[in-house]
Symmetry: C2
Subunit: 479 residues, 2 copies
């Protein structure tokens, strides 16, 4: 018996001894029924006071691991193994509660979960209907991919050079001049935000954003002690300056084209003014442009295209156009930023799927992508008009909205604050799943982000009907 408790540890000697005895039992060195050495002898061997040994033994007796027979002898109890086994399961909930990253909001978790239920009408989801994804066309194209061993090995830190070259051309067509060195491939827009959070910002940094924002529904920043600050981003000089905090790092998260959730598109003047404001304040800008290809009419130039100063970190993706299952997006930024984000990405997941990168390269470079997007926009516009007509028919007296300019959404504002968790759950009971405004702005109770991109026509009409019935009932009951 060479083990001795260690006096330099913060764990008490008796706890160390109790742990050690438990271990003797678990490693079967002291099987059930083993008679323990007398306490006095144990104390000497372990180099501690007898009272310390007694304390350890009492603790284990109380736990049912040791037992005493008549007299003073102590035995490994029959139940010891069970007791130790029960005890030893890690309390995972305790781990989870203490850990670093925030959980998704309960409503978001519920939405993620309920979206797996195929009987649900998804009236708000940020996802294209499976019928709008070109699954067959993608499958047909797979045979054309120039796959070889090199293509499907680990990727370079910034992602497939082939894809980055293709993206340079794609971005050029949008008025953005860049080079493969200024692009990092990511697994979708959300990962881009996480890389920015971990690779560019410090704890305590402030991310400015619109009052209503997609960012409030996810946590790429908040989990790392980075704060969000809602402001009015249009004509925002004063509002930003007032809320800017001392010497803290600042960055602005913007969605100038087809804003999520509001669907707004900033005018060219608004873009220029916003860019100038941020630039004059030395505040970098994140431009989230993932819906831009779905604008029904050509949108004004992106912030990145007017960025002469390396002020804008531009995010694009094929998740809203070609297929979210590809998990492919990109960041365009000044070289030191890209090198840094690529290095963080290498530490997170060693790059994105090579297969997905090959598919996106192929679709962008052959024109298949553009062809698909043209068709897709046509169908989305038809759906947007259908939803708009239905809203006109039913909701004119209880809500306001703007007709959609593209993308997936109509941002519905009820005349009364009825959009509560309760309301959300009542709809869910009737198999209608909505994204309530409060996931985009905690205090909101009047908005719903409606989507016409997922449900079929008949589901959409049915869902809107149920939504209308519930809304009317809430309004009549409470106002």
């Amino acid at each position: 018996m060479s083990w001795k408790p260690n006096r330099s540890l913060s764990i008490s000697l008796s706890k160390q001894i109790a742990d050690w005895i438990s271990q003797q039992i678990l490693t079967r060195q002291w099987p059930v029924g083993t008679k323990l050495p007398p306490q006095r002898q144990l104390a000497i061997t372990l180099g501690v006071n007898r009272s310390t040994v007694q304390e350890a033994i009492d603790e284990l007796k109380a736990a049912g691991i040791l037992s005493s027979k008549v007299g003073s002898s102590t035995y490994v109890s029959n139940d010891s193994w069970n007791m130790l086994t029960k005890q030893k399961q890690p309390n995972w909930q305790h781990y989870i509660d203490a850990s670093i990253h925030k959980p998704n909001y309960q409503t978001i978790q519920l939405i993620n979960h309920m979206e797996q239920d195929e009987s649900i009408i998804r009236l708000s989801t940020g996802e294209l209907s499976p019928s709008l994804l070109p699954a067959e066309e993608i499958q047909a194209s797979l045979q054309q991919l120039p796959l070889d061993g090199k293509e499907i090995g680990y990727s370079s830190p910034q992602g497939s050079l082939k894809l980055r070259k293709v993206l340079v051309q794609y971005l050029e067509n949008k008025g953005i001049s860049t080079t493969p060195d200024n692009i990092c491939i990511v697994s979708g827009g959300l990962q881009a935000l996480q890389l920015i959070a971990l690779g560019l910002l410090e704890t305590g940094a402030v991310v400015f954003q619109d009052e209503f924002s997609y960012l409030n529904s996810v946590h790429p920043f908040q989990s790392f002690g980075i704060q969000l600050q809602g402001v009015n981003s249009i004509n925002s000089n004063e509002s930003i300056m007032t809320k800017r905090r001392g010497k803290r790092q600042n960055i602005f998260y913007s969605i100038p084209t087809l804003h999520n959730p509001t669907g707004a598109i900033w005018s060219l003047e608004e873009r220029q003014s916003f860019y100038d404001t941020c630039t004059s304040m030395n505040m970098p800008i994140i431009e989230d442009d993932v819906y831009a290809d779905l604008s029904f009419h050509p949108p004004p130039p992106s912030l990145k295209s007017i960025d002469t100063d390396g002020q804008v970190l531009y995010i694009g993706s094929v998740s809203k156009t070609l297929s979210p299952g590809l998990r492919i997006g990109w960041i365009v930024a000044p070289t030191p930023v890209i090198k840094r984000l690529a290095d963080i990405k290498m530490q997170m997941d060693y790059g994105s799927s090579a297969f997905s990168q090959e598919i996106v390269s192929y679709w962008l470079s052959t024109g298949l992508y553009e062809e698909h997007v043209t068709q897709l926009k046509r169908e989305l516009q038809r759906r947007a008009e259908l939803m708009n007509r239905q809203l006109d028919k039913q909701f004119s007296n209880i809500a306001t909205w703007s007709s959609s300019k593209g993308g997936f959404y109509i941002w519905l504002a009820f005349t009364h604050p009825i959009v509560t968790t309760d309301f959300f759950l009542k709809l869910l009971k009737q198999k209608v799943l909505i994204n309530p405004g409060y996931i985009y702005q905690g205090k909101d109770a009047t908005h719903i982000r409606l989507s016409y991109a997922y449900a079929t026509d008949s589901e959409m009409l049915k869902g809107l009907h149920i939504l209308y019935q519930e809304a009317i009932q809430e309004i009549q009951k409470n106002f």
Copy 2:
């Protein structure tokens, strides 16, 4: 002019005024040559002392943004735009330096970078040679994938149910009984570690690991204030207990089969003893099993297969066997852990590539995977023997090693401490890229992780020859 500086901010009034003036210039409201209002008037309009205005104007004059003509009038200088533009570029390096995540070690960054250079002999890389990846076979299989719109939409939080079902069978064959609910699909083993870091551990938690460890070469834990603690994991009771810190969370990161970098395989007795030790200390275990399928002889049962208590978080992957470009791995763990990790993954990247998941499902369920791995192991064994013979011929007097039991690596220990950054760079100059021991244990200067999985036979022999020459020279020079 309605703007006024805000006294409740921590930025000085004069700085706020200087910012505001800059902004007037940048937004072209005050074009070049504009004469500023007299200071006295500005002071009144802005509600501050004249000296505050003067301070702001002096600052901007010093920066060349404003200029004074004879007399007291102040003008927007000809150079103002340039000056502001120069000033306004974000200092990205400053952002990067202050940010949360650690950069990769310089050696690792260099390795990641040099691996893109095809003229380099990669004598250490953790990657299969492109010639060993079944690129053609994968391409041929793509046509068989049952892709439809649903398959390529956003994934459920835990990943494709189809793949998880296939994995249950695959794991059953390895003696691990589990269910689809206990599996979360991830983008490779490294992401699994990051999810555990963010989703289960608290800042200040301690991750125990072997003295030499893959974990030291990456930062999924360290960037979030989680500490690593090297111990001798075999017969480790005392060593762990001594280094366990008070009430801090603990977890053990282990690679019982084909350890990275040492190549060791723990015996059944070592596994049982290690499991019992950790269990008795209530210390959860991460079991990284990503090389296990490449064991030349069947390895002892995994820790997970003897885990009756939900103590083990098991990590598997196809990156070392089928293709790293797929970016597909998995975690097997108790349900609350899996739900938590899946929720974090949804917040990071909304799931892994659906295409990659389909390919892995197909390869595992049709037997293609097993067939490929059988062939792959045969070739790896041939290469391992070739490397071993060459080491026997050249290195017997200056190094020791064990012959490989599987996987990619031979862990070479020189008799003298020659493996320094300098040595690494000298080899690189000769186009030989190695993973030096110090990336696995900061103080090491005697080891190299050799790999026989990437270089061709002739490259391997050439690389070993160069390595030998450099090593001899170092030894003769210094010892």
